[in-house]
């Protein structure tokens, strides 16, 4: 029997033409990948060994591994790493159960659920900067709606400083949960719809209640998609900076400084009044170490998540 898949099944010239066709289709993405991903990464890797303030600031000065040594001495950076984990953990711990709950609730064939799904999903398509601004208006201490309602209800006497050192991280997590829950809900809905109706039916015939059906049938069967959802939630938490920039700029006293924003500041000083001048070399070293941390966490997660695959 002729193996149509083997290379020898086609004449050499035809294989070449076929390959050319395939490569031609790949070319646009390859160009974009090279220009937008590979080149910046190589550029960053080059400058980790230099002290350089950007175009017009003279020749980059080779400093060897000094930038890396400085990162390890930089207390604020390591605090920002801790803040990133706090933010990521806070986001994931709330967003996943909430998204699952909403998906389960709104997946049922009830009137109005379609509209409710759209409303929950709406923040996902909203610009993060706009979302940050809306939350700033809601939570600012002096005339924010939240304080006004709490004071009107007699629950507080003096405005709470939601964006102050004590509460800023909680407010950021809340913004992230609100902005992202719709997205994860859609993933969960897709997953729930894949769950075999027969399995659920069998469980019910066997006497399983609603909670038991969720816990013993639906959640285990969501294993593969839950793995992807968790990975997306974790990795996105590592590079969420728009909210932080708009709401707090990493402050006060770096209480909400996350590692991606910390690196970003050295490339692009945040505001016009920012005293920090660009330090591309140090920013590149910070970015490389941050990427390594994010990579380690992802690899660690993938190893643990293999267990999830084995559940079903």
């Amino acid at each position: 029997m002729k193996d149509w898949n083997s290379k020898s099944a086609l004449p050499r010239s035809k294989t070449m033409k076929k390959n050319l066709q395939a490569y031609s289709f790949m070319l646009p993405n390859l160009i974009l990948f090279t220009v937008c991903s590979l080149y910046p990464v190589m550029w960053t890797l080059k400058y980790v060994f230099f002290q350089y303030g950007g175009y017009g600031t003279g020749t980059p000065r080779f400093v060897g591994l000094a930038n890396f040594a400085r990162v390890f001495r930089d207390k604020v950076y390591w605090e920002s790493v801790i803040h990133t984990f706090t933010y990521g953990f806070g986001k994931v711990i709330f967003i996943i159960p909430l998204a699952f709950f909403l998906a389960f609730l709104l997946n049922q064939q009830k009137r109005g659920n379609g509209a409710a799904q759209s409303i929950v999903f709406l923040p996902t398509i909203m610009s993060s900067a706009v979302m940050g601004l809306v939350f700033y208006l809601l939570f600012n201490a002096y005339n924010g709606e939240v304080n006004q309602y709490l004071m009107a209800a007699g629950l507080i006497q003096r405005p709470i400083n939601w964006l102050g050192k004590e509460h800023a991280m909680k407010t950021l997590i809340l913004t992230a949960v609100w902005g992202g829950v719709g997205n994860y809900m859609v993933y969960f809905i897709a997953g729930i719809q894949q769950v075999s109706g027969e399995a659920i039916e069998s469980a019910r015939i066997d006497g399983a209640g609603r909670l038991q059906t969720i816990w013993y049938i639906i959640i285990p069967m969501l294993g593969p998609i839950l793995k992807i959802i968790l990975m997306l939630a974790i990795t996105s938490a590592f590079h969420d900076i728009t909210n932080v920039m708009v709401l707090t700029e990493g402050g006060p006293t770096n209480a909400t400084m996350v590692m991606s924003l910390y690196g970003y500041r050295y490339f692009f000083p945040i505001s016009a009044a920012e005293a920090t001048v660009p330090q591309y070399g140090y920013g590149a070293a910070v970015s490389v170490i941050s990427a390594a941390i994010a990579g380690l966490v992802t690899v660690g997660y993938l190893r643990i998540s293999k267990k999830l695959d084995e559940i079903y």
Binding site: L20, L27, T57, D74, A141, P159, G251, N254, A273
Partner: protein, 480 residues
């Protein structure tokens, strides 16, 4: 079959070209955006060219929104009336001005005339990017502007790069009505009084949502550069902690001031949420009568309370930023504004200078600018002839005064990218004191050490140079 493969390759080709076109399109867009797109002036000039008029387009970039309408009107008048076949294309870049200039320089799209800003001026002056005005100025013009030529500031090595026509400095703004309500009869003269008054206002009026003091501390550098740092210049005679006589940093002298600022920004004195406050939200609250005092730039606030957030002029005034115990050992910094640089590498430098002279260095323009409240004039002739807005006539501290002076640049601004300070800069370090629990003395000692180390390192590796001024007198500062 062959046709299908061919069409496949063709499709891929189209996609690749599309992608590349997308890239180049983006570049075109960016360039167009950087240049502000096809503007009326360009269209006009192209029309003129097609009819044989051959108009020269002189591009002007500005970063200032507050005077944009005024400048645009003057540019339109000039375009309508000039007989030199010149068309001025005026563009506004309020955000990322410095980055837009960097990009334009790299792509060879730098305009002919640009509003001068310290960061962009310093960055490119040594590369010969800015034209020497002396090459084009006649003796009348030199005479007219001689009072605003400052060696070491706008005149470097005998070359004049820009002419500041207005100036700004920082003051403490206060609400007279709130002061009256709590029985404060005089504005504060010392920092201790600022704390005392803020506490008094908070105690008596916070139930009504009125608080004693506010500052835009969302960005420590933005907040402190218009407030505490300015007071410290007069109090210590140091410029951002730098001692020009000794040639070293000494932040330990900031201790007493920071103690009071910590109190000033506490719940006892401050408006809630100063940590996340930007300047405009602060101004809206001041205009609404919710804030007793704050510190900001002298040139901007009259216009803000006249147009942006209307407030009765009789309700507010300003005074110099108070210092600890009213101590004064030096002058405070004022910034020259209203200056323009000319791109020395433009093919139309001469015509660009003509445009600059006819529009921006024209006395009518300068008088109108001052009278319109867009800037506080520092030109004696303009001050003598102009009838500025009532605020500038009634509130004497809005004007540049004898407490203000141009100050020399400390190392961290003189060679900003060459001096790399490890850890947090002076502003964020202060934030860790007034909003955090950092110990004042040890933190300021560490800050001093870090800045001096970075300075010495910069001098050693050649990315900086020694900054020391022999016989420097903070009460009568010289720039070099």
């Amino acid at each position: 079959m062959k046709l299908r493969r061919l069409s496949g390759i063709l499709m891929a080709g189209i996609m690749a070209v599309g992608t590349l076109a997308g890239c180049s399109g983006a570049k075109t867009d960016a360039t167009t955006a950087a240049a502000g797109g096809q503007t009326a002036a360009q269209t006009e000039a192209e029309k003129a060219q097609s009819t044989g008029g051959e108009k020269t387009v002189i591009k002007v970039w500005s970063k200032d929104r507050h005077d944009a309408t005024y400048v645009q009107n003057k540019v339109d008048e000039y375009n309508a009336s000039n007989t030199d076949n010149i068309q001025v294309d005026y563009q506004l870049y309020t955000d990322n001005y410095a980055q837009a200039i960097d990009m334009a320089l790299q792509s060879g799209e730098l305009p002919d005339i640009l509003v001068q800003q310290e960061q962009m001026f310093d960055k490119y002056v040594n590369e010969g990017q800015w034209a020497d005005f002396y090459d084009y100025m006649d003796s009348d013009m030199k005479e007219y502007f001689k009072s605003v030529i400052y060696p070491g500031y706008n005149e470097l090595d005998g070359k004049l790069y820009f002419i500041p026509t207005t100036g700004t400095t920082c003051r403490l703004f206060y609400n007279k009505e709130i002061f009256d309500r709590v029985g404060i009869t005089e504005p504060p003269k010392t920092l201790e009084e600022v704390v005392e008054y803020a506490k008094k206002i908070n105690t008596e009026l916070s139930k009504e949502g009125i608080y004693g003091f506010a500052e835009n501390m969302k960005s420590a550098s933005s907040g402190l550069q218009r407030s505490m740092c300015i007071g410290l210049e007069r109090e210590t005679g140091l410029v951002r902690g730098y001692d020009f006589v000794k040639g070293e940093y000494d932040f330990t002298q900031w201790g007493d001031t920071l103690k009071l600022w910590k109190e000033l920004l506490s719940d006892e004195c401050a408006f809630p949420g100063c940590e996340s406050l930007d300047i405009d939200p602060l101004r809206t609250q001041f205009a609404a009568g919710k804030i007793g005092m704050y510190m900001s730039y002298s040139h901007a606030e009259p216009g803000v309370y006249q147009n942006q957030f209307p407030m009765d002029s009789s309700k507010w005034d300003c005074v110099p930023i108070p210092t600890v115990g009213g101590k004064t050992t030096g002058k405070q910094y004022f910034t020259g504004t209203g200056g323009y640089v000319i791109n020395a590498k433009s093919p139309n430098v001469e015509k660009a200078f003509k445009v600059y002279k006819d529009i921006f260095a024209n006395e009518d323009y300068l008088i109108g600018y001052y009278e319109g409240g867009f800037g506080v004039s520092i030109l004696p002739s303009v001050i003598a002839k102009a009838k500025p807005a009532q605020d500038f006539q009634d509130k004497k501290w809005l004007l540049i005064n004898d407490i203000d002076a141009l100050l020399p640049k400390p190392p961290h601004t003189a060679f900003a990218s060459g001096m790399v300070v490890e850890g947090e800069d002076m502003y964020k370090t202060c934030e860790s004191i007034y909003y955090g629990n950092a110990d004042i003395d040890s933190t300021l000692k560490d800050l001093t050490d870090r800045y001096n180390k970075a300075y010495q390192e910069a001098v050693k590796n050649g990315s900086g140079h020694e900054v020391k001024i022999a016989n420097y007198d903070p009460m009568n500062p010289t720039l070099q």
